[in-house]
Protein backbone atom coordinates (compact mmCIF):
# COMPACT_ATOMS: atom_id res chain seq x y z
CA UNK A 1 0.00 0.00 0.00
CA UNK A 2 1.15 3.50 -0.75
CA UNK A 3 1.49 5.27 2.56
CA UNK A 4 1.56 8.62 0.77
CA UNK A 5 -1.89 8.49 -0.83
CA UNK A 6 -4.23 11.10 0.62
CA UNK A 7 -7.89 10.56 1.41
CA UNK A 8 -9.78 12.06 -1.49
CA UNK A 9 -13.39 13.16 -1.14
CA UNK A 10 -14.59 14.09 -4.58
CA UNK A 11 -17.95 15.75 -5.25
CA UNK A 12 -19.80 13.69 -2.66
CA UNK A 13 -23.51 14.25 -2.05
CA UNK A 14 -25.65 12.27 0.32
CA UNK A 15 -29.39 12.09 0.85
CA UNK A 16 -30.98 10.64 3.97
CA UNK A 17 -34.13 8.69 3.27
CA UNK A 18 -35.84 7.94 6.55
CA UNK A 19 -38.43 5.10 6.49
CA UNK A 20 -41.08 7.70 7.31
CA UNK A 21 -41.03 11.34 6.32
CA UNK A 22 -39.28 13.37 3.67
CA UNK A 23 -35.77 12.64 2.43
CA UNK A 24 -33.14 15.21 3.36
CA UNK A 25 -30.10 16.34 1.39
CA UNK A 26 -27.41 16.09 4.05
CA UNK A 27 -24.28 16.69 1.98
CA UNK A 28 -24.12 18.67 -1.23
CA UNK A 29 -21.12 18.33 -3.53
CA UNK A 30 -18.41 18.08 -0.90
CA UNK A 31 -14.77 17.84 -1.99
CA UNK A 32 -11.79 17.64 0.34
CA UNK A 33 -8.32 16.15 0.35
CA UNK A 34 -6.75 15.01 3.59
CA UNK A 35 -3.02 14.42 3.46
CA UNK A 36 -1.25 11.52 5.13
CA UNK A 37 -0.70 12.12 8.87
CA UNK A 38 -2.66 15.32 8.74
CA UNK A 39 -5.12 16.26 11.49
CA UNK A 40 -8.21 17.80 9.92
CA UNK A 41 -11.25 19.02 11.82
CA UNK A 42 -14.72 19.08 10.25
CA UNK A 43 -16.44 21.97 11.97
CA UNK A 44 -20.04 23.06 11.60
CA UNK A 45 -23.40 23.54 13.28
CA UNK A 46 -25.36 20.44 14.28
CA UNK A 47 -27.18 18.86 11.38
CA UNK A 48 -24.66 20.10 8.81
CA UNK A 49 -23.77 16.57 7.76
CA UNK A 50 -20.25 16.48 9.22
CA UNK A 51 -20.86 13.15 10.93
CA UNK A 52 -22.46 11.81 7.76
CA UNK A 53 -19.28 12.65 5.87
CA UNK A 54 -17.27 10.78 8.50
CA UNK A 55 -19.56 7.72 8.24
CA UNK A 56 -19.16 7.75 4.47
CA UNK A 57 -15.36 7.73 4.82
CA UNK A 58 -15.71 4.94 7.37
CA UNK A 59 -17.72 2.92 4.87
CA UNK A 60 -20.71 2.67 7.23
CA UNK A 61 -22.99 4.41 4.75
CA UNK A 62 -22.85 3.76 0.99
CA UNK A 63 -21.37 6.50 -1.21
CA UNK A 64 -24.16 7.20 -3.65
CA UNK A 65 -22.92 10.29 -5.47
CA UNK A 66 -19.31 11.28 -6.00
CA UNK A 67 -16.45 9.15 -4.76
CA UNK A 68 -14.22 8.68 -1.76
CA UNK A 69 -10.74 7.24 -2.22
CA UNK A 70 -8.72 5.87 0.67
CA UNK A 71 -5.24 4.68 -0.25
CA UNK A 72 -6.13 5.09 -3.88
CA UNK A 73 -9.15 2.81 -3.93
CA UNK A 74 -12.83 3.64 -3.47
CA UNK A 75 -14.35 2.93 -0.07
CA UNK A 76 -16.40 -0.25 -0.27
CA UNK A 77 -17.25 -0.79 3.40
CA UNK A 78 -15.77 -0.56 6.87
CA UNK A 79 -12.25 -1.85 7.44
CA UNK A 80 -9.54 -1.95 10.08
CA UNK A 81 -7.49 0.63 8.13
CA UNK A 82 -10.00 3.24 9.34
CA UNK A 83 -10.62 3.20 13.06
CA UNK A 84 -13.50 5.15 14.55
CA UNK A 85 -14.22 6.74 17.93
CA UNK A 86 -17.81 7.78 18.65
CA UNK A 87 -19.20 10.48 20.90
CA UNK A 88 -20.95 7.92 23.09
CA UNK A 89 -17.96 5.58 23.18
CA UNK A 90 -19.68 2.54 21.63
CA UNK A 91 -17.84 0.16 23.94
CA UNK A 92 -19.30 -3.34 24.04
CA UNK A 93 -21.09 -3.13 27.40
CA UNK A 94 -20.90 -6.90 27.94
CA UNK A 95 -17.12 -6.91 27.64
CA UNK A 96 -14.56 -5.71 30.15
CA UNK A 97 -12.09 -2.97 29.23
CA UNK A 98 -9.49 -5.60 28.37
CA UNK A 99 -11.91 -7.67 26.28
CA UNK A 100 -13.01 -4.53 24.42
CA UNK A 101 -9.41 -3.66 23.54
CA UNK A 102 -8.71 -7.27 22.59
CA UNK A 103 -11.63 -7.44 20.19
CA UNK A 104 -10.00 -5.92 17.12
CA UNK A 105 -6.76 -7.81 17.80
CA UNK A 106 -8.68 -11.10 17.82
CA UNK A 107 -10.31 -10.19 14.53
CA UNK A 108 -6.87 -9.40 13.12
CA UNK A 109 -5.79 -12.93 14.07
CA UNK A 110 -2.85 -11.97 16.26
CA UNK A 111 -1.40 -14.77 18.39
CA UNK A 112 -2.66 -14.84 21.96
CA UNK A 113 0.47 -13.64 23.72
CA UNK A 114 0.99 -10.78 21.34
CA UNK A 115 -2.66 -9.78 21.67
CA UNK A 116 -2.50 -9.63 25.44
CA UNK A 117 0.73 -7.64 25.45
CA UNK A 118 -0.51 -5.19 22.86
CA UNK A 119 -3.86 -4.68 24.60
CA UNK A 120 -2.10 -4.03 27.89
CA UNK A 121 0.27 -1.50 26.34
CA UNK A 122 -2.64 0.51 24.92
CA UNK A 123 -4.57 0.30 28.18
CA UNK A 124 -1.47 1.68 29.88
CA UNK A 125 -1.06 4.34 27.19
CA UNK A 126 -4.49 5.82 27.89
CA UNK A 127 -3.99 5.56 31.64
CA UNK A 128 -6.50 2.82 32.43
CA UNK A 129 -4.08 0.46 34.19
CA UNK A 130 -5.92 -1.19 37.05
CA UNK A 131 -9.30 -1.03 35.27
CA UNK A 132 -8.67 -3.87 32.84
CA UNK A 133 -11.39 -6.06 34.34
CA UNK A 134 -14.01 -3.33 34.82
CA UNK A 135 -17.16 -3.27 32.71
CA UNK A 136 -17.91 -0.01 30.89
CA UNK A 137 -20.95 0.61 33.12
CA UNK A 138 -18.55 1.02 36.04
CA UNK A 139 -16.41 3.69 34.36
CA UNK A 140 -16.80 7.47 34.18
CA UNK A 141 -17.39 9.13 30.81
CA UNK A 142 -13.75 10.13 30.45
CA UNK A 143 -12.56 6.62 31.28
CA UNK A 144 -14.99 5.11 28.80
CA UNK A 145 -13.63 7.34 26.06
CA UNK A 146 -10.06 6.43 27.02
CA UNK A 147 -11.01 2.76 26.71
CA UNK A 148 -12.65 3.39 23.34
CA UNK A 149 -9.57 5.24 22.10
CA UNK A 150 -7.31 2.42 23.30
CA UNK A 151 -9.52 -0.11 21.53
CA UNK A 152 -9.31 1.80 18.26
CA UNK A 153 -5.59 2.59 18.45
CA UNK A 154 -4.72 -1.03 19.30
CA UNK A 155 -5.78 -2.09 15.81
CA UNK A 156 -3.26 0.45 14.46
CA UNK A 157 -5.48 2.01 11.80
CA UNK A 158 -3.80 4.36 9.34
CA UNK A 159 -6.71 6.74 9.65
CA UNK A 160 -8.52 7.73 12.79
CA UNK A 161 -12.10 8.94 12.39
CA UNK A 162 -13.38 10.77 15.45
CA UNK A 163 -17.04 11.71 15.78
CA UNK A 164 -17.24 14.45 18.42
CA UNK A 165 -15.27 12.16 20.71
CA UNK A 166 -15.14 14.60 23.63
CA UNK A 167 -18.63 16.03 23.20
CA UNK A 168 -20.14 13.98 26.02
CA UNK A 169 -17.44 14.83 28.57
CA UNK A 170 -17.32 17.58 31.18
CA UNK A 171 -15.13 20.61 30.47
CA UNK A 172 -12.12 19.59 32.58
CA UNK A 173 -12.03 16.05 31.28
CA UNK A 174 -12.43 17.33 27.76
CA UNK A 175 -9.43 19.66 27.89
CA UNK A 176 -7.34 16.94 29.53
CA UNK A 177 -8.28 14.44 26.83
CA UNK A 178 -7.54 16.95 24.06
CA UNK A 179 -3.99 17.34 25.37
CA UNK A 180 -3.56 13.59 25.63
CA UNK A 181 -4.90 12.99 22.14
CA UNK A 182 -2.36 15.46 20.74
CA UNK A 183 0.43 13.77 22.68
CA UNK A 184 -0.59 10.34 21.37
CA UNK A 185 -0.95 11.66 17.85
CA UNK A 186 2.56 13.15 17.95
CA UNK A 187 3.97 9.79 19.04
CA UNK A 188 2.08 7.68 16.50
CA UNK A 189 1.25 9.99 13.63
CA UNK A 190 -1.95 9.01 11.87
CA UNK A 191 -4.30 10.74 9.54
CA UNK A 192 -7.07 12.08 11.78
CA UNK A 193 -10.45 13.37 10.69
CA UNK A 194 -12.11 14.92 13.69
CA UNK A 195 -15.75 16.05 13.75
CA UNK A 196 -16.62 18.78 16.24
CA UNK A 197 -18.73 21.86 16.73
CA UNK A 198 -16.28 23.31 19.25
CA UNK A 199 -14.16 26.02 17.58
CA UNK A 200 -11.43 26.10 20.25
CA UNK A 201 -11.10 22.34 20.12
CA UNK A 202 -10.79 22.41 16.32
CA UNK A 203 -8.12 25.12 16.36
CA UNK A 204 -6.18 23.52 19.19
CA UNK A 205 -6.08 20.01 17.74
CA UNK A 206 -5.93 20.29 13.99
CA UNK A 207 -3.64 21.28 11.15
CA UNK A 208 -6.57 22.48 9.06
CA UNK A 209 -10.17 23.22 9.87
CA UNK A 210 -12.83 22.59 7.24
CA UNK A 211 -15.74 24.88 8.08
CA UNK A 212 -19.04 23.44 6.88
CA UNK A 213 -22.21 25.28 6.02
CA UNK A 214 -25.63 24.61 7.51
CA UNK A 215 -27.73 21.92 5.83
CA UNK A 216 -27.25 20.89 3.09
CA UNK A 217 -23.63 20.53 4.19
CA UNK A 218 -20.96 22.04 1.97
CA UNK A 219 -17.39 22.90 2.72
CA UNK A 220 -17.41 26.64 3.08
CA UNK A 221 -13.74 27.37 3.76
CA UNK A 222 -10.64 25.53 4.79
CA UNK A 223 -8.47 27.37 7.27
CA UNK A 224 -4.88 26.54 8.12
CA UNK A 225 -4.40 26.25 11.86
CA UNK A 226 -0.80 25.04 11.99
CA UNK A 227 1.21 26.90 14.59
CA UNK A 228 3.20 25.96 17.65
CA UNK A 229 0.89 24.26 20.14
CA UNK A 230 3.47 22.51 22.27
CA UNK A 231 2.97 25.12 24.99
CA UNK A 232 0.03 24.07 27.20
CA UNK A 233 -0.85 27.76 27.53
CA UNK A 234 -1.07 28.36 23.79
CA UNK A 235 -4.79 29.04 24.36
CA UNK A 236 -3.80 32.45 25.63
CA UNK A 237 -1.59 33.50 22.71
CA UNK A 238 -2.77 36.12 20.26
CA UNK A 239 -2.30 33.79 17.27
CA UNK A 240 -4.65 31.26 18.88
CA UNK A 241 -7.28 33.78 19.90
CA UNK A 242 -7.26 35.42 16.48
CA UNK A 243 -7.71 32.08 14.72
CA UNK A 244 -10.61 31.17 16.98
CA UNK A 245 -12.26 34.56 16.34
CA UNK A 246 -11.80 34.27 12.62
CA UNK A 247 -13.41 30.84 12.52
CA UNK A 248 -16.12 31.80 15.00
CA UNK A 249 -17.30 34.54 12.67
CA UNK A 250 -17.65 32.02 9.86
CA UNK A 251 -19.42 29.46 12.01
CA UNK A 252 -21.77 31.92 13.68
CA UNK A 253 -23.40 32.76 10.35
CA UNK A 254 -24.00 29.08 9.66
CA UNK A 255 -25.25 28.33 13.15
CA UNK A 256 -27.79 31.13 12.78
CA UNK A 257 -28.89 29.78 9.42
CA UNK A 258 -29.27 26.33 10.92
CA UNK A 259 -31.42 27.76 13.71
CA UNK A 260 -33.65 29.66 11.31
CA UNK A 261 -34.13 26.52 9.26
CA UNK A 262 -35.30 24.68 12.36
CA UNK A 263 -37.63 27.43 13.57
Amino acid sequence: MDAQAPIVIDAVSHTYRPPRGRSVLALDDVSLEVHPREFVALLGPSGCGKSTLLYLIGGFLPVERGRILVDGSPVAGPGPDRGIVFQHFALFPWKTVRANVLYGLERAGLPRGEREARAQSFIDLVGLSGFEDAYPSHLSGGMKQRAAIARTLAVDPKTLLMDEPFGALDAQTRSLMQGELLAIWRRTPKTVIFVTHDVQEAVYLSDRVAVMSARPGRIKTIIDTRFDKSDPHCFKTKTFIDKVDEIWDLVRVEAMKAQEARA
Partner: protein, 247 residues
Protein backbone atom coordinates in the same frame (compact mmCIF):
# COMPACT_ATOMS: atom_id res chain seq x y z
CA UNK B 1 -31.02 -16.86 55.20
CA UNK B 2 -33.02 -15.01 57.84
CA UNK B 3 -34.23 -12.63 55.15
CA UNK B 4 -35.41 -15.48 52.97
CA UNK B 5 -37.25 -16.96 55.92
CA UNK B 6 -38.97 -13.66 56.68
CA UNK B 7 -39.85 -13.18 53.03
CA UNK B 8 -41.62 -16.50 52.79
CA UNK B 9 -43.13 -16.49 56.29
CA UNK B 10 -46.60 -15.55 54.93
CA UNK B 11 -46.65 -18.95 53.21
CA UNK B 12 -45.91 -20.64 56.52
CA UNK B 13 -48.68 -18.65 58.22
CA UNK B 14 -51.12 -19.51 55.45
CA UNK B 15 -50.24 -23.20 55.79
CA UNK B 16 -50.83 -23.05 59.54
CA UNK B 17 -54.16 -21.27 59.08
CA UNK B 18 -55.16 -23.79 56.44
CA UNK B 19 -54.28 -26.68 58.79
CA UNK B 20 -56.26 -25.11 61.61
CA UNK B 21 -59.27 -24.45 59.38
CA UNK B 22 -59.26 -28.03 58.09
CA UNK B 23 -58.93 -29.45 61.62
CA UNK B 24 -61.85 -27.35 62.80
CA UNK B 25 -63.97 -28.90 60.06
CA UNK B 26 -64.17 -25.75 57.94
CA UNK B 27 -62.25 -27.41 55.10
CA UNK B 28 -64.80 -30.13 54.50
CA UNK B 29 -67.21 -27.62 53.02
CA UNK B 30 -64.71 -26.89 50.22
CA UNK B 31 -63.09 -30.33 49.93
CA UNK B 32 -59.93 -28.87 51.37
CA UNK B 33 -57.80 -31.52 53.08
CA UNK B 34 -55.39 -30.35 55.82
CA UNK B 35 -51.76 -29.82 54.76
CA UNK B 36 -50.63 -32.59 57.09
CA UNK B 37 -52.79 -35.09 55.20
CA UNK B 38 -51.48 -33.71 51.91
CA UNK B 39 -47.92 -34.23 53.12
CA UNK B 40 -48.69 -37.84 54.07
CA UNK B 41 -50.22 -38.42 50.65
CA UNK B 42 -47.19 -36.81 49.00
CA UNK B 43 -44.83 -39.20 50.77
CA UNK B 44 -47.06 -42.08 49.69
CA UNK B 45 -46.94 -40.95 46.04
CA UNK B 46 -43.19 -40.63 46.25
CA UNK B 47 -42.81 -44.13 47.75
CA UNK B 48 -44.90 -45.99 45.21
CA UNK B 49 -43.15 -44.14 42.37
CA UNK B 50 -46.20 -42.41 40.87
CA UNK B 51 -44.78 -38.96 41.41
CA UNK B 52 -41.39 -39.81 39.93
CA UNK B 53 -42.63 -41.64 36.81
CA UNK B 54 -45.21 -39.02 35.96
CA UNK B 55 -42.89 -36.20 36.93
CA UNK B 56 -40.13 -37.53 34.70
CA UNK B 57 -42.54 -37.74 31.77
CA UNK B 58 -43.71 -34.19 32.33
CA UNK B 59 -40.24 -32.74 32.77
CA UNK B 60 -39.01 -34.48 29.64
CA UNK B 61 -41.87 -33.06 27.59
CA UNK B 62 -41.49 -29.61 29.06
CA UNK B 63 -37.72 -29.50 28.61
CA UNK B 64 -37.83 -30.80 25.04
CA UNK B 65 -40.61 -28.45 23.96
CA UNK B 66 -39.11 -25.43 25.67
CA UNK B 67 -35.60 -26.25 24.45
CA UNK B 68 -36.80 -26.37 20.83
CA UNK B 69 -38.79 -23.17 21.32
CA UNK B 70 -35.76 -21.33 22.70
CA UNK B 71 -33.31 -22.41 20.02
CA UNK B 72 -35.60 -22.04 17.01
CA UNK B 73 -37.39 -18.98 18.41
CA UNK B 74 -34.15 -17.11 19.10
CA UNK B 75 -32.65 -17.84 15.70
CA UNK B 76 -35.90 -16.85 13.99
CA UNK B 77 -36.18 -13.58 15.91
CA UNK B 78 -32.64 -12.51 15.13
CA UNK B 79 -32.86 -13.48 11.47
CA UNK B 80 -36.16 -11.58 11.23
CA UNK B 81 -34.54 -8.50 12.70
CA UNK B 82 -31.54 -8.52 10.38
CA UNK B 83 -32.85 -9.86 7.13
CA UNK B 84 -35.67 -7.91 5.58
CA UNK B 85 -37.17 -10.60 3.30
CA UNK B 86 -37.60 -12.91 6.28
CA UNK B 87 -39.20 -10.13 8.30
CA UNK B 88 -41.62 -9.26 5.51
CA UNK B 89 -42.57 -12.93 5.12
CA UNK B 90 -42.97 -13.78 8.80
CA UNK B 91 -44.14 -10.63 10.57
CA UNK B 92 -47.85 -11.01 9.62
CA UNK B 93 -47.76 -14.69 10.64
CA UNK B 94 -46.29 -13.81 14.02
CA UNK B 95 -48.89 -11.06 14.49
CA UNK B 96 -51.77 -13.43 13.79
CA UNK B 97 -50.41 -16.31 15.82
CA UNK B 98 -49.30 -14.35 18.87
CA UNK B 99 -52.72 -13.64 20.45
CA UNK B 100 -54.10 -17.13 19.71
CA UNK B 101 -54.76 -18.98 23.01
CA UNK B 102 -52.28 -21.79 22.61
CA UNK B 103 -54.43 -24.21 24.64
CA UNK B 104 -56.72 -24.27 21.59
CA UNK B 105 -53.96 -26.28 19.92
CA UNK B 106 -54.24 -29.13 22.44
CA UNK B 107 -56.75 -31.15 20.37
CA UNK B 108 -54.90 -30.25 17.17
CA UNK B 109 -51.54 -31.55 18.30
CA UNK B 110 -53.23 -34.65 19.78
CA UNK B 111 -54.92 -35.28 16.43
CA UNK B 112 -51.56 -35.03 14.65
CA UNK B 113 -49.30 -36.85 17.07
CA UNK B 114 -51.52 -38.85 19.39
CA UNK B 115 -51.65 -39.01 23.18
CA UNK B 116 -47.94 -39.50 23.83
CA UNK B 117 -44.90 -37.27 24.29
CA UNK B 118 -44.84 -35.95 20.72
CA UNK B 119 -48.08 -34.00 20.92
CA UNK B 120 -47.04 -32.32 24.20
CA UNK B 121 -43.62 -31.40 22.90
CA UNK B 122 -45.11 -29.92 19.74
CA UNK B 123 -47.72 -28.02 21.74
CA UNK B 124 -45.15 -26.52 24.11
CA UNK B 125 -42.83 -25.73 21.22
CA UNK B 126 -45.58 -23.91 19.32
CA UNK B 127 -46.91 -22.16 22.39
CA UNK B 128 -43.55 -21.01 23.74
CA UNK B 129 -41.75 -20.07 20.55
CA UNK B 130 -43.39 -16.70 19.88
CA UNK B 131 -42.49 -14.96 23.15
CA UNK B 132 -38.89 -16.06 22.54
CA UNK B 133 -39.00 -14.93 18.90
CA UNK B 134 -40.44 -11.54 19.80
CA UNK B 135 -37.90 -11.03 22.58
CA UNK B 136 -35.01 -11.84 20.25
CA UNK B 137 -36.54 -9.73 17.46
CA UNK B 138 -37.12 -6.61 19.56
CA UNK B 139 -33.76 -6.93 21.26
CA UNK B 140 -31.90 -7.39 17.99
CA UNK B 141 -33.73 -4.51 16.32
CA UNK B 142 -32.65 -2.19 19.09
CA UNK B 143 -28.93 -2.96 18.63
CA UNK B 144 -26.93 0.26 18.75
CA UNK B 145 -25.64 1.01 15.26
CA UNK B 146 -22.41 2.47 16.63
CA UNK B 147 -21.66 -0.93 18.23
CA UNK B 148 -22.37 -2.64 14.93
CA UNK B 149 -20.14 -0.17 13.11
CA UNK B 150 -17.38 -0.46 15.71
CA UNK B 151 -17.25 -4.22 15.26
CA UNK B 152 -17.26 -3.90 11.48
CA UNK B 153 -14.47 -1.31 11.53
CA UNK B 154 -12.36 -3.65 13.67
CA UNK B 155 -12.50 -6.32 11.03
CA UNK B 156 -15.64 -8.31 11.90
CA UNK B 157 -17.54 -9.63 8.87
CA UNK B 158 -21.33 -9.51 8.75
CA UNK B 159 -21.98 -12.92 10.30
CA UNK B 160 -19.28 -12.45 12.92
CA UNK B 161 -20.79 -9.06 13.81
CA UNK B 162 -24.24 -10.64 14.14
CA UNK B 163 -22.88 -13.11 16.68
CA UNK B 164 -20.60 -10.65 18.50
CA UNK B 165 -22.88 -7.62 18.65
CA UNK B 166 -26.50 -8.31 17.72
CA UNK B 167 -26.89 -11.48 19.80
CA UNK B 168 -25.52 -9.98 23.04
CA UNK B 169 -27.50 -6.77 22.39
CA UNK B 170 -30.64 -8.86 22.08
CA UNK B 171 -29.87 -10.92 25.17
CA UNK B 172 -31.73 -8.93 27.86
CA UNK B 173 -35.00 -8.93 25.91
CA UNK B 174 -34.46 -12.48 24.72
CA UNK B 175 -34.00 -13.70 28.28
CA UNK B 176 -37.20 -11.88 29.25
CA UNK B 177 -39.06 -13.66 26.46
CA UNK B 178 -37.70 -17.00 27.65
CA UNK B 179 -38.99 -16.29 31.14
CA UNK B 180 -42.50 -15.82 29.74
CA UNK B 181 -42.05 -19.01 27.74
CA UNK B 182 -40.99 -20.91 30.85
CA UNK B 183 -44.22 -20.01 32.65
CA UNK B 184 -46.28 -20.81 29.54
CA UNK B 185 -44.61 -24.22 29.25
CA UNK B 186 -45.92 -25.24 32.68
CA UNK B 187 -49.44 -24.06 31.88
CA UNK B 188 -49.58 -25.82 28.52
CA UNK B 189 -47.97 -28.99 29.83
CA UNK B 190 -50.40 -29.55 32.69
CA UNK B 191 -53.45 -28.53 30.63
CA UNK B 192 -52.57 -30.91 27.82
CA UNK B 193 -51.85 -33.75 30.21
CA UNK B 194 -55.17 -33.20 31.99
CA UNK B 195 -57.07 -33.42 28.74
CA UNK B 196 -55.25 -35.90 26.50
CA UNK B 197 -52.60 -38.02 28.13
CA UNK B 198 -51.83 -41.29 29.86
CA UNK B 199 -48.94 -40.02 31.92
CA UNK B 200 -47.59 -36.86 33.46
CA UNK B 201 -48.43 -34.54 36.34
CA UNK B 202 -51.62 -33.32 34.72
CA UNK B 203 -52.81 -36.84 34.05
CA UNK B 204 -52.07 -37.85 37.65
CA UNK B 205 -54.02 -34.84 38.97
CA UNK B 206 -56.97 -35.82 36.81
CA UNK B 207 -56.97 -39.47 37.87
CA UNK B 208 -56.59 -38.69 41.57
CA UNK B 209 -59.40 -36.15 41.37
CA UNK B 210 -61.71 -38.60 39.63
CA UNK B 211 -60.95 -41.23 42.29
CA UNK B 212 -61.73 -38.80 45.08
CA UNK B 213 -58.16 -39.00 46.44
CA UNK B 214 -58.10 -35.31 47.18
CA UNK B 215 -55.16 -35.48 49.60
CA UNK B 216 -52.98 -36.92 46.87
CA UNK B 217 -54.42 -34.62 44.23
CA UNK B 218 -53.48 -31.59 46.28
CA UNK B 219 -50.04 -33.09 46.79
CA UNK B 220 -49.46 -33.21 43.03
CA UNK B 221 -50.93 -29.73 42.45
CA UNK B 222 -48.62 -28.28 45.08
CA UNK B 223 -45.65 -30.17 43.63
CA UNK B 224 -46.28 -28.61 40.22
CA UNK B 225 -46.71 -25.18 41.80
CA UNK B 226 -43.44 -25.58 43.64
CA UNK B 227 -41.58 -26.75 40.54
CA UNK B 228 -42.88 -23.77 38.58
CA UNK B 229 -41.75 -21.41 41.32
CA UNK B 230 -38.34 -23.09 41.65
CA UNK B 231 -37.76 -23.04 37.88
CA UNK B 232 -38.51 -19.32 37.77
CA UNK B 233 -36.21 -18.57 40.73
CA UNK B 234 -33.34 -20.58 39.27
CA UNK B 235 -33.91 -18.89 35.94
CA UNK B 236 -33.78 -15.44 37.49
CA UNK B 237 -30.53 -16.23 39.28
CA UNK B 238 -29.00 -17.47 36.02
CA UNK B 239 -30.24 -14.40 34.14
CA UNK B 240 -28.77 -12.06 36.72
CA UNK B 241 -25.44 -13.82 36.35
CA UNK B 242 -25.46 -13.68 32.55
CA UNK B 243 -26.39 -9.99 32.59
CA UNK B 244 -23.96 -9.05 35.37
CA UNK B 245 -22.34 -6.47 33.09
CA UNK B 246 -25.48 -4.32 33.08
CA UNK B 247 -25.61 -2.94 36.62
Amino acid sequence: MKQTFLRYSPILLLTLAWEAAARLGLGAAFDLPPPSAVLVAWIGLLRDGDLVTNGAASLYRGAAGLGLAIVIGAVLGIVMAWWRPVRVALEPLVEIFYPLPKSALIPVTALWLGFGDGSKILLIFLGCMLPVTLGAFNGARASDRTLVWSARSMGAGRVRMLWDVVVPSALPELLNGIRTALALAFILLVSAELIVSQRGFGNLIGILGDNGSYDAMFAVVLTVAFLGFAADRVYQVLTARVLAWRE
